[in-house]
């Protein structure tokens, strides 16, 4: 009753009105939801289980849901420096690429979004209009010309091709602009009266206020780059420069499919994103859902 102003609480009041059947039904529903969710996520569990199996157990029928005997063979095989599939190297490449790309996205997008949100200048609407319009351009159209541009820059088969070209994030500009517009303007006004210049206002006042949005954008950019597949597959050819997704696909191409190795590789590729997701899912999910509401 004290929460009458709280909208979600009101929605929750609805089922309460039918009190008698409630308890048993509620428990039943959670049990059913739990079972469905468990089945839904079971492939991921099986991936992790298989990565700790021996080569033979990984392909035995009936499949076992416990890795008995438990072994780290698969990890030792793919992580050893002598391996023809340098998964550790790929991990390092992916991490460097995703971190730098995400930093580049956050820096350039937030810098660009600020004048589009707060300043009046000639050409503002044209610039913003063009940026938003490219959100509708299917990325495939960029693949062939960007390959040639990257080749002219001498970036083929090197990590910079994965870091720079994809950093021009129209979504990032749009997302940050929405956030800046929603910020109250008084602090900036006060700072301006005190004679602070725009860059100072941006770095000292606006950016600290925008931390949640910056974190969300950084995470989304990191995930996108970490999981990007088509571009690295075609732009990187040597084993030592591959990112994890591109490298894993070459692992699969081997003549005898080693599922134990593949699952271990897939687990290694999943660890950072799953860790990020478990601890920071609030930012990721809110970022995704907000993109929908505002779009």
């Amino acid at each position: 009753m004290t929460q009458l102003t709280d909208r979600p609480a009101q929605t929750e009041d609805r089922p309460v009105q039918r009190r008698p059947v409630n308890r048993g039904r509620k428990i039943l529903r959670i049990v059913i939801l739990g079972i469905v969710a468990l089945i839904f996520i079971s492939p991921v569990i099986f991936m992790i289980v298989t990565s700790f199996k021996t080569r033979g157990d990984a392909t035995s029928i009936p499949p076992s849901w416990l890795p008995i005997p438990f072994t780290l063979q698969a990890y030792e095989a793919i992580l050893s420096p002598q391996s023809s599939t340098p998964v550790l190297r790929w991990f390092f490449n992916s991490m460097v690429a995703a971190l730098l790309n995400s930093a580049l996205v956050v820096i350039t997008a937030s810098l660009a979004a600020y004048p589009l949100a707060r300043m009046n200048f000639k050409g503002k609407n044209v610039v913003f209009g063009i940026i938003v319009a490219t959100l509708l351009v299917p990325p495939v159209i960029l693949v062939i010309p960007n390959y040639l541009i990257v080749s002219d820059l001498g970036w083929l088969n090197s990590l910079i091709a994965i870091i720079v070209p994809t950093a021009a994030s129209a979504f990032g500009v749009f997302f940050m602009r929405q956030f800046f517009i929603a910020l109250p303007v008084d602090l900036e006004e006060a700072a301006r009266l005190d004679g602070a210049n725009r860059l100072l206002i941006f770095t000292r006042i606006v950016l600290p206020l925008a931390k949640p949005a910056l974190a969300t954008l950084a995470l989304l950019a990191f995930l996108t780059n970490w999981n990007d597949f088509l571009w690295p597959v075609y732009v990187l050819f040597s084993p030592e420069v591959q990112t994890l997704p591109a490298g894993l696909s070459t692992l699969q191409g081997a003549n005898s499919v080693r599922y134990d190795l593949l699952m271990a590789g897939a687990v290694v590729a999943s660890i950072p994103v799953l860790v990020i997701f478990v601890f920071l899912q609030r930012f990721i999910i809110e970022g995704v859902s907000r993109s929908g509401v505002k779009g």
């Binding site: 509620k26 839904f40 991921v44 991936m47 350039t108 660009a112 040639l148 070209p165 725009r198 897939a266």
Partner: protein, 322 residues
């Protein structure tokens, strides 16, 4: 609440007057200032987005093998070849367009409805709700490479989990999920739904929570049952987000690549080789970049026409309601 928003607005509205009169007002910024802020982004944006869009059109008018020193201008020949039945480019391209079409046709409706059902379940308050929401979203963060490699293992016709459990249920246990159609389509579509349903569900969920509870209350007072509330309150409330979700799902489906590349290698034959796959192979493996660029423009044209039709459809509905 009210006061903060008004404080935020007031200075903004007052400021223009002194600014116009006193040229040295603090609101004034140098003409270059906004462009200096924009510059780093614009360098990337022009170099890797705008320029490529124009450059791609230019490439498509040439026979462009990047390993060759000369790229002869051929006018619209690459496009004409794509429209000429019997040519190799025609066969390859339209087969791949058909594959993309089949995939889109089946995956989009599933990715619009199943996530909505999940979101409706999650919209109600119950203990562990955020945990369930995270579970359904989790596959999305794994990325296409991990997901496709994982499912190729689960769908292995001999040792895969899926066939094993189908056998336990008394169903056929020797389905060649990745090497025969239509099973390969079921696999590709099913895996894609599993992978991305959480993404759409989360967007729906946010929109559901924005529908005012008073609307449901009013509907109940009018004697509307659950289904009526869904039709007359939930769906209209979701309309703007429905457009958004339809568009991004459509574009994502039309851009399908990794699932096919990793799970079926485009097979059997080239039946599941999608348009993107075909464009990438033509341009970046066989280096027929002119032809590949032409293909990407034709595909883009298709997508744009489809988007316009969709926008128009949604708008029609909206107006007829009012």
């Amino acid at each position: 609440m009210k006061s903060t928003t008004e404080v935020g607005v007031l200075p903004k509205e007052r400021a223009p007057q002194p600014r116009v009169k006193a040229g040295r007002s603090v609101r004034e910024q140098g003409k270059a200032t906004p462009w200096l802020f924009l510059a780093p982004y614009l360098v990337l944006f022009i170099g890797f987005v705008l320029l490529p869009i124009v450059f791609g059109a230019w490439i498509s008018l040439h026979t462009w093998d990047y390993t060759m020193p000369v790229h002869p201008f051929v006018g619209l020949d690459n496009y004409i070849e794509l429209m000429q039945p019997g040519s190799i480019a025609f066969e390859n391209f339209w087969n791949s367009m058909k594959a993309t079409g089949i995939f889109t046709l089946f995956s989009v409706p599933l990715l619009l409805t199943i996530p909505l059902a999940v979101a409706l379940l999650m919209a109600k308050n119950f203990p562990g709700r955020n945990f369930f929401r995270a579970v359904y979203f989790a596959p999305y963060v794994l990325g296409v490479a991990v997901v496709a490699i994982l499912w190729r293992y689960l769908l292995d016709s001999n040792i895969g989990l899926v066939n094993y459990y189908l056998g336990l249920l008394g169903l056929p246990d020797d389905i060649a999920w990745t090497t025969s159609t239509p099973a390969a389509w079921v696999a590709l579509i099913g895996v894609t739904v599993w992978w991305t349903l959480g993404f759409n569900a989360v967007i729906y969920l946010a929109a559901l929570q924005d529908i005012p509870a008073e609307l449901y209350e009013a509907a109940r007072m009018d004697g509307a049952n659950g289904w009526n509330q869904f039709i007359h309150v939930t769906l209209p409330g979701l309309r703007p987000v429905l457009i958004f979700v339809t568009m991004i799902t459509l574009i994502a489906s039309a851009n399908m690549f990794g699932q096919s590349y990793l799970m079926t290698q485009g097979g059997p034959g080239r039946e599941t080789r999608t348009a993107i796959y075909q464009i990438a192979e033509t341009g970046l493996r066989n280096f027929q970049m002119g032809s590949a660029a032409a293909m990407s423009y034709v595909l883009t044209l298709f997508l744009m026409v489809l988007s316009i039709i969709l926008f128009w459809l949604f708008r029609e509905k909206k107006e007829s309601r009012k």
